[in-house]
Symmetry: D2
Subunit: 343 residues, 4 copies
């Protein structure tokens, strides 16, 4: 059994880590850290865990030795605490933005602050099994990408590996997201009466995940982000231009080749029916990322679509998948929930 600790366990990503890890057959959760609620029952803030666990939150000082620590903290907190946690566990998985961008100047540009531990940036392996599985097998430091970045990168990745893109054009990504992505802290903007039914463009340009997309794909990326009516779920519509002469069959083949052996990426691109393209509605609670595409053959313009549950494949599930890889376990252990329909 792996002994694992979740730090930031009272938040939404923290709660999802607990749900997955408590149901994982090879894991024992030994610590659930919340600086705000030490001593309180975990199921007080995560009511879906009632009767599943009697665990209480502890403070950072009381964390027992662990095989792995998951850090689900506010941005900036991890880069300040990283040395502390490295000493406590063989594997540290960071779910914040602190170690996602390899270049500290890009970090400063997008986060508006200096990186305080730039020397560690090269040591972090991106927690994206579909791109970095091999390196993850013996990574000690893992940085899980942003939820919208994951959806966009997985959607566009086959085009890059198969060299089908007109790279000069860059990519344009329109992301839609549910409200859980902004966390469990109440404020005027995420009050139910304000957020319900909204189509809120909260990042019309230069969302932080834009930099991750560019980094992972090696192309210029522009991204917008809009909050739509949903609690969970991310969908990215990516606009790209194909190299001259690339047709739909070639694109389809690239997607199939790329993902046929992947346990958690499905290609969804149908001509008919209600569920023709990736939609997070059927993915909630699951670790799947669905990807699909449609080509306007007259113009060579390609629309590529990615969808996932931001708290699972866009966060906690992806992190557990990395843990499985690093620990030599079956990759889908504890991650087999298929999603609900209808929901």
């Amino acid at each position: 059994m792996l002994r694992v600790t979740v730090v930031g366990a009272a938040g939404y990503i923290g709660g999802e880590l607990l749900r997955l890890l408590l149901g994982h057959p090879e894991v024992e959760v030994v610590g659930a850290v919340s600086s705000r609620l030490p001593g309180k029952r975990v199921d007080g803030v995560h009511p879906n865990l009632r009767s599943v666990t009697e665990l209480t939150f502890c403070s950072a000082e009381d964390v027992p030795e662990s095989d792995a620590v998951f850090l689900a903290l506010p941005h900036r907190a991890v880069m300040e605490q990283i040395e502390h946690w490295r000493g406590r566990a063989g594997l540290v998985v960071d779910l914040t933005g602190d170690f996602r961008l390899a270049d500290p100047e890009v970090f400063r540009d997008y986060y508006g602050t200096e990186h305080t531990a730039p020397h560690l940036l090269p040591a972090f392996v991106p927690g994206l099994p579909e791109l970095h599985r091999k390196r993850l097998r013996d990574a000690d430091l893992v940085s899980v990408p942003g939820c919208m970045a994951t959806a966009a990168v997985l959607a566009l990745h086959p085009l890059v590996t198969h060299d089908l893109l007109d790279r000069e054009q860059g990519v344009q990504v329109d992301a839609r997201t549910g409200s859980s992505g902004s966390g469990a802290t109440a404020g005027p903007a995420n009050l139910h009466a304000e957020r319900s039914g909204a189509m809120r463009v909260f990042a019309p340009t230069r969302h932080r995940h834009e930099a991750e997309i560019a980094q992972h794909l090696g192309v210029r990326a522009a991204m917008t982000a809009t909050g739509v009516e949903a609690v969970r779920g991310v969908q990215t519509l990516c606009h790209a231009t194909l190299r001259p002469g690339v047709d739909a069959a070639t694109v389809r083949r690239a997607f199939r080749e790329q993902y046929t052996a992947e346990p958690f990426v499905r290609v969804v691109a149908h001509q008919r029916g209600t569920h023709r393209y990736p939609d997070p509605k059927i993915l909630l609670g699951s670790n799947f990322c669905d990807v699909g595409f449609a080509l306007d053959e007259d113009t060579g313009r390609l629309t590529v679509i990615g969808a996932l549950d931001n708290l699972v494949k866009g966060g906690a599930g992806n992190a557990v998948q990395c843990l499985n890889i690093r620990s030599g376990l079956p990759e889908n252990l504890g991650l087999t929930f298929p999603g609900l329909h209808p929901l």
Copy 2:
């Protein structure tokens, strides 16, 4: 033109008062008081009023003389400020709970605090035109009832006036409400991710509006309140027992007689179709309260249903209707928006 002031103008009831009063042909809004946002533009917090008004919030001290003042404040604030406002306007319309209950002991029982101006309780006329139209014509102090109380009282009222109820049995009211009823202040319970899709029983017994229902109808009342997925809208299901021998035709006649001349109460009780009973979905933005009923003739048990928009007929609209009555204006002036379908 009537010169009116809205106090608590940055809240949801305050915003709705502004929307209605700014569109009212015989009203000039001379003050919009917000203690939190003096000097800020009104359309900054009420974005639906962009291009409708250039008004800014002012502080309570800067209110000009007014013909009428509407108080949309937190509970308890009005009973402390009432002398201040009485001196500033010929008509004071209170939209809080402070002067709804005629008996200060009942007030203490339901609000958990002593009333600080009990001598004024008899001077307030309930802002419920369908029951108190005549008294409202020359009222100087008006107390608008609670949104759920209004829906329940209007639904049950014809049974009382026509003496059809088995009064011994009392009435049981099951109320459902949207999130705007709890106001514009953010907190953990009304965070979108928590409140969205909820069926949250926040008052399984003894909701405060229960006391208003009992007072207006003169029967024993028990009430529950549940938050359901909606921003606006209240629906009350009321269970009552008829006196022996009362049949459905008699009930129907009572409803028709009671409400045939009322501008804002419609009887909705159909045997077929999608819209057979009152549903707030089609009432949002309108000042209608729809009421309907169904009788189980075998048992004499009657289900009576009321529906309204909690911010309009359950608050701001009802208040404007009272202003019209008091001012000798056509009762529906400024209140003719019929609601949207579908929405």
Copy 3:
């Protein structure tokens, strides 16, 4: 391995049965019957099962011999096909209303039609483990109760077994339900634009589940049913009167005693916090039924609340729990998904 068949597999209950049975470690799904879609892929209508199964629908004639057959058909179809299915499987689990009511006259009264197989009514065991576990161990015919009936019966059951109710008063049940309960067939009433945001009283009196509640509890029951904004989820608010002298501590003890050993019923009745009473929001996808209560000690009026996912504990999950009991398997096998929060 148990060989099982799902009949009516293209519907919502059918899809949920497939989701649960395909993930069940001791079950092999050998048939998925759809009279409408034979030969089509199951994941075409249940997109959450993509990559989970390659199964195609078959017709009723092509069903292989099975250990158990689940019938998720329209009401009335089962009583006509029952002899056919009894010959095909050792265990028949009916999820329709056809064999829920023991008395054929009550059936006629509530369903408006004669029962065509009344001789079989006594042979069916109610698929409600919390009330009939022992009989389910060797039942060959099981009838799973209605979703709203299950929530109400489990909520009220401890009061009956502990004789705390003033039975003369009967019980009043107000049920709220999501749209999936009305099935996968499109019509004007469940068009998204019409159903979205509705509070639609579709049964103001005499909903069919009322008769089940009365039968299981042995008390007079009156029930209303309202569709609220949700796809999944049922909540029942039950109003009852306690016998004189019964206090809250006694009620609490009755609930604890009744359900402490039950794997899928949790008592939720807290004084504080956001999640004080049962709410289906946190139960979606899970087999839990949460029950809770609040007492107005002044009047002896008790509000009892039940919540569940209508497609799981209110249907498919309950059926699988019965299969586990009948087959001598651990009762929670294949049913351990805890629900999601937030969602």
Copy 4:
């Protein structure tokens, strides 16, 4: 008083036309045509019009002479009936796609069928007051643009008139829409359980409104369309590239100049607050189209945003605005409802 007739009056656009026209002080509705429901009450399908009108539907043959006829029919029906309606009214306003595209070859390309009245295409004036007000003053045939096209065209129009676009790059439009846009006819795809909470890419390339955008702006346009959780509301995110050297101040000035005198277009582009960019949430029921923009000055990439209520400014309201212009009435007559907040 203008005598007007609505054809297709039982649909959602038809119902919205009735709501607006019944409340219009200079209009008398003389006919509400429904081929499906002649003789039935209008408020049976449009329950928000209860107590507002006693009107019944009539058949096409029974339409009295009218000053104006509004055609809210399925696509293709108008081009076949157009001669009939031209003979019945001085002004015909078509709300379908039949006469939106000036070039019959483009029509064939996007609608997959031959145009049957191409000779009339030049006679139709686009029902877009902001671009064609002058021609609308004496138009006899008006074709109201598609809802998503209207949002995109109004958002991008100032850039074209002020020549700020790098026209070589074309524009990319990402449109999100509520479910009412697909009409009042039930089918599997718009069943509540399927459509609720969806992010459904129903047109990943080549939505029909794409051709309208290109036609009105004179630039190459690519468009995607996604159904999101909403009944009403359209939002378009438009991506464009500015000519070198154009800065944010220039763009802002172009928007202000273009729309400062427009009664129904507001420029919304704020640095702070919850409501920084156009969001249909606050526009429901109103005739406003809000437009805004954000510029990434490093790259010259501009995100332009449009939002409206698809049934009002995207359909019925725009049509009434055209009627006002054509009839020499104040342009906002009958169209002053400001929208609700919160909703």
